[in-house]
Amino acid sequence: MENKSNFNNDEFQESELLKSMKNNNVFSVPENYFENLPSAVSDRIHANQHKAGIFSGSAVRWVSFAGIAVIAIISGAIYFNRTGNEKSADQVVSTEQIVNSGELATIDESLLFEELQSRIASESEVAEQEALADNEHFEEYLIENNTDINLIITEL
């Protein structure tokens, strides 16, 4: 009971021995420790803030977006460059295919006309030369066989 009353009594006192030792601080600190402590803490706070600024959620998000954008741009550039080359290669092939398949809608008509004319001209030359060759051959035949040309004209 005595102890219980002591527990609830703010006047509870330590022994004289304990009281005599109360003001003796056995723990010492390095020189100027308390002068430097606030600046040491402030430095750490600002270092953390700087780190937090660099690695904060919004900064990380922006860096992520920027990274994704750069990757997308590079990928896009590579893709379009590649498909562009493939497309022009395809275009060469398809032009050949068009030419080979006779689809001439995209070909200049004047070129076709010139080509046609030259072909006609060369064919008629050949025909003339052949005709000339035939005439020469015929005349040679008549001469070699002593045929009377007037008789042939009369019969014709």
């Binding site: 022994s15 021995l17 304990l18 003796n24 056995v26 723990f27 402590l37 402030s42 706070i45």
Partner: protein, 182 residues
């Protein structure tokens, strides 16, 4: 240095362009009390230095949300106590040593630490304090050295005033017995 109250410094922290100034003032006001409170728990100066810095950094981070439902210094003591106990807990788990060995290790440190200046009697008192259960040790230090009111200790430790008084009473009796050898 102008003496500002805690409320004025907190107001200055929240509403001025330079919260560093107000926080610096708060640190200077409480650094010694907080440091020695921590030092009595962890004993070693380097450990106390780490813990006190972590305490103030956490206070800085939490100060924006501090609503003054409790007094600033009891809030700061609570952070410091929690940080100190967490430190000891980590130390125990790190070295896989049981509770009693940490206290024995701290007790041995008392004898050889150049930053501890104690005669035989004061050394015996410190060893007696370290022999107490953790909660009793906290209560004894806060009452005997820091001379905190039971109401404030109750706010810091989350324990009823009656339980704190009983705890302190038992602690004193154990220490006196330890010192006198009776």
């Amino acid at each position: 240095m102008t003496d500002y109250s805690d409320s004025e410094l907190l107001e200055l922290f929240r509403n001025s362009d330079n919260p560093d100034f107000a926080f610096n003032m708060l640190m200077r006001k409480y650094q010694q009390k907080i440091y020695y409170h921590i030092r009595r728990i962890v004993i070693d100066h380097d450990d106390a230095n780490d813990v006190v810095q972590n305490t103030f950094i956490k206070a800085w981070k939490g100060l924006e949300g501090f609503r003054e439902d409790s007094q600033f210094f009891t809030w700061l003591y609570r952070i410091a106590t929690n940080e100190s106990l967490t430190f000891l807990k980590k130390k125990r788990s790190k070295f896989l040593i049981p509770l009693v060995n940490v206290e024995r290790q701290l007790s041995e440190k008392l004898q050889y630490d150049p930053l501890i200046n104690a005669d035989d009697l004061l050394l015996k008192l410190q060893k007696a304090i370290l022999s107490l259960p953790e909660k009793q040790r906290l209560v004894f230090n806060m009452k005997y050295y820091d001379e905190l009111k039971y109401e404030d200790m109750s706010a810091i430790l989350g324990t009823s005033v009656g339980a704190l008084k009983a705890s302190y009473h038992h602690a004193v009796k154990k220490i006196e017995k330890y010192i006198t050898g009776n």
